[in-house]
Every structure is written in C-alpha cells, then in structure tokens.
Amino acid sequence: MDFEKANVAERLLLSGNEAVARAALDAGVSLGTGYPGTPSTEILENFSRMGGPAQWAPNEKVAMEVALGASFAGARTLVTMKHVGLNVAADPLFTAAHTGVTGAMVIVTADDPGMASSQNEQDNRWYARAAGMPMFEPSDSQEAYDFTLRAIELSEEFAAPVMLRMTTRLCHSKTVVRPERSIAEAGRPEFHRNIKGRVMIPAYARPAHKRLRERLARIARWNETSGPNDTIQAGKDLGIIASGIAYAHAREATPDASFLKIGLTWPLPTETIAKFVRSVNRCVVIEEGDPVLVESLRAAGMTVEGKSEQYRFGELNVNRVRRILSGDDSVEAAAAKGKPPQLCKGCPHRVSFEILRRLNCIVAGDIGCYTLGVLPPFEAMDTCICMGASIGVGLGLRHVLPDEQARRVVSVIGDSTFVHSGITGLVEMVYNPPKTGHVVLILDNGTTAMTGLQEHPGTGRTLAHQPTGQIVFEDLAGALGIERVEVVDPTKDPAGYERILIEALDSGKLCVIIARRPCLLVAGKVREYEKKRSAETDAHE
C-alpha cells in the first residue's frame, strides 16, 4: 500500500493491557490501583503514562479495599492484579460482591495459563462463580477496550463490582483497536451514608446476600438480551462455544463452523446458549484451562462436548484446538526447550545464593527474580509457594526439625515481596519464636525487578517515580522486636555478609539481615528519576 494513502488515524495497535488502560482513561476512571504481577503489570503503568491517576498498593488486598472505598464514594475505579493476586484479595472480593458499589469497580484478573511467569495455573473463572460477580472475557485488544467500558457501565447500572478476566496471551498481544469513547461522563464523588448496605454485620449481610443473588439474576436476564455475546451462524454440522483467546484460536482452526462467542461469561446467558446448542448437530466448548464452562452447560442439561484432560494444561493454540475437535488424544510433541532464564551477570542476588549454598542452608524461598536461585549453578532454594510464604514456611520448618537441622533454616524474601506479605510473617516470628531462633534474609534490590522494575513502599517513590513516604525495613524490624537487625552490601562486602549470616545462624536469636544493593537494571533509572527531580526543584526555586 502507498505510504501517503494509508489511513492511520482512528486506528491503534495496542496490547490488551494498553487497551484496558486506554478505556479506563476514556471512561474517566478516578483511581487505578493494584500490585504488579505478570501479565497484568502494564495496565496501570500505561494508565499512568497516559495521564490517569494510578498507584501501586503494597498488595492486592489493600488495592481492592482502596478501590472499594473510592467506589463507595461514587467514583469509577480500576483494580488490577495477576491471578494469584486475587487469592490475596479474595477476602474483600467476596464481601464486596455482597455490599455492591455506588460508583463503578472493575477488577482485572490476569490469568497465566501455561505459567509463563507464575507459581500455579489456577483458573479465576471459578472466582466469578464463587463470589457471585459478573465476569467479562475479552478475546482481543478491541474487546479489552470495549469490555472495560461495558464493565464500568454494568457496574454502575447494577451497583455491582465487575471482573474483567484477561490472560497472558491477551495482555501481551497487540491487535488493532478503534477506540470509540462511548460512555457517559463519570459522576462527581460524594459521600452518601448507607449503613445497612455497607456495614456487613450478620444482620445486614443476610439481606445483602439475598440482594446479591437477585442482582445476579437480573444481570443474567440482561445478558440474554443485551450482553456482549455474538453468534456466527454458519453450517449446522459444527457449533463452537468459546470465550477469550480460545475464540480466536478456534475461529482460525475451524473457520466454517458456527460460533457463539460469550463476552459476559458470568452469569451465563443460558437460554441464548441452549438455543445455539439446539441449532447445530455437534456442539463443542473450546476453553483454555479448567472445564469451567462445559461443566456449567452440562449442569444446565445441555449436550455439549468438551476436551480431554490433557488440554486442561497449558495454553491453547490453533493446532491444539484442531486436535480437540478431531478427538486426537495422542501425546503432543514437547515444545523445543529454550535457554532457561537466569540471574543477570553481576546481580547482587548471586552473592546471597553462593553463600547459602556454601553454608548448606535449608532455604525457604519466595517469589521474585531471586527464585532463580533454585536453578544451577546455585540450587539453593528448598521451597517457593506464594508471596510472603518464605517466612511462615521457614518458621514451620524451624519449629519441628531436629535442632541441628533447624539451625540451618533461612527465609529468603525480596523487598517488594516483603512489603506485600512478609511483614505479618515477622510478627509471627516475634510472637511464636522457634527455640533455635530464626534468620530472615531480605534481598533488598530497591525495586520490583521480576515484573519490570516497579516501585513499592520501600523505594520511597510512587508508581510514577515521584518521591513519597518510605518504609525503612531495618526500623520496622527493630520496632517489631526483632533481636538482631543487620544491613549488609552483598556486592561490596561479601565476606562480611557471610560472617554475619554465620553468626546469626549460630546465635539462636531472631535475626533479620537486609542485603541491600540496587538491581543492576534499576540503578541507572533511579539516577535519572533523581536528576529529573532535582532539575524540577531547581526550576521551582
């Protein structure tokens, strides 16, 4: 095509994450909050870059509570997290479904089928069912944009928090978006008392639960007539029911089939689906992850085919959908093995894992770049469960192991992870100390490195890298009553670091050692933030 004639206006090439951010901006969202987690991180980063008010919370539970408060005040809010983040935020999630909201609250859960960068493969579609919350599932960036707007509208119309389920492939794939800012202006936040609606004591929560079920029934009826569900009626031989990215793969795998694409996947438009099932001779549900949809449809008495167990694992793709449709359950060729990731050359974490390996420590590990300490050449990690688990698991090991083994147990946790879920672990350590003491190693590289160098409360800078209040780990540990608190520089003084760790292990006391050295990738950026800031300060003076 001719360069001069190509019309590039009104068309954008956006990742799913960018599309959600753009929609939040276009809808006038008053507050975006969340905690970084692959593949969701770039939503808030882009929202902030576009000029939207975005902030990182210390963890997903706090983020959801902040968003809920803002939505009680009538604001439009967006809260983002990866799939496992929703486990952390599950407590407010379930009760928020009971209270409902006054403004809008859209909860983005970014699932990671295939576990590109996660510790488990949970399917968060179950949460919509369990909490009783509507869920949108976009299938490309255009729908990520459209459904974010629709989710805000639905949230306001039905006074319900709404979930938007993304997956890795959607978050990180770029597709063409035509943003049409088709949404009413946001209202101005104002407090209106609603004690029975928002104070969930049992007497008020019982009717709230009934209201929740009644609201879901109304949304289900709305979904039948006005929901974002599309039917492509082609031949009668084969009908496919799909949502999200699975729809894109299925359309390519079997272009001649009839399709029902469900955009609002909870509560289901059961009559619409039943009608589609009746219209075809063979109906197959194509879904990534758990057999969530197919089980719901069978429970509703529909005759639909699903997939065999092997396709529960990992992402779907065009070839896998072809196999599902042809009933091919033979063993799939393993994907070619690439080079595994590793800690960067010169990474300060390397020193820590060299020492832990040399001392033959039993290492309760945690979530972050430093989880790579489990791989050769270090192989110095014994457990990794979830954010913050290093401390609890380490304490548990200490409590029951024979003394000579218990004394080798170390909990290793990164700075961002410590703020996220490690602080209550330290409280537990002070409250229920093992008789051999315990050693917690905070690997403080001054950033949330694994997800792409995000700020957190320990860096003293906001999401947009502006100065703010800072949590000082050594002060916090001291204030909690940790007996020995040390700060070391792993790169400058590895010998001193090792000596202190040995002393701590031998001491029988509760010790926190902070190995502080900025991530190599963030050091230059921090200098830039500070330079920019001092230039701004000078300009103001």
Binding site: F3, A6, T168, K174, T175, V318, G338, K339, P341, M450
Partner: protein, 162 residues
Amino acid sequence: MSSSVTNVVIAGLGGQGVLKASDILAEAAFRTGLDVKKSEIHGMSQRGGSVTSDVRFGDNILSPMVPGSEADFLLVLAADQVETNKGLLGAGGVLICTDRIDENALANRRSLNVAMLGVLSRYLEIDKPFWLDAIRSSLPEKVYDVNVKAFEMGRDAAAESY
C-alpha cells in the same frame, strides 16, 4: 490458513531486542493499513532466557500466535537459538540468521535486531517509509539515526545476497 497472511517469528535471548524488533515489524505492517497481531510472552524469560515473538499480518488475522510449523519467516538473533526454533518454519519458509550481516560493522551492536529487520524488509511488501516511521515511533529519538543506519545495512546486505 489463507495465503494472504504473513507469519513471522523472531527468536533470540532476553536482552537482545527480540520484542522491540517485533514491535517495529508489527508497527510497520500496521501503518500499511493491514490487520496485524503480535504476540509474545515476557516475564521470567526476560532474564537472559529464550524469547520468541510472533507477528502476523494480512487482511484478517484471527489467532495472535503463528500456528506451529507455519512461519513464513524465522528471524533468529542468537546463533544458538536456531536449532531450538527451526521447527517453527513452514515448508518453503525463510530462515534469516545473523550471518546475513557483518555484526562488526554495526556502529552499535545493540542495533543488531534492527539490522536483521533490514534483511527481512527485502522479502516483505512494506515500503521503506513505513519502516522508518515504525523505527521512529518505537525507539528513543537519540538512537534513531544509528538504528536507521543498521536497518539500511541489513537491507543492503540482503539486496546483495537476494
């Protein structure tokens, strides 16, 4: 799949600019007015591990992932990643490796990814101005010139061997 779709896979190691190269290619194709989908996985792979990114363009693209063994072009930025990824190429597909250019002639070795796009550009019907626009919009202004030189170098090298 309809023959109007072009499937490109770019492979290499974390830090080599695989994702940036796929961004530029996707942007260039997008600017011609075609439908484009670009897919990648990041996260743990950023830490020096294998990285691949898929770019598909044509009249109407469905899945964002190039179906296995259907790539028309495989661009590999690290020699040791050829073996891992060559199975992605379809019959008649073109493998483009770093031996197509003189890496030592690059003013900045970090522009290898863009030089390789220069090679690829000889095979695609995307006019040069679209490429230059895509490079400008995808990279910081201060490295634009060095990357355009790298792009030209790859383009010239491919013209000689084409």
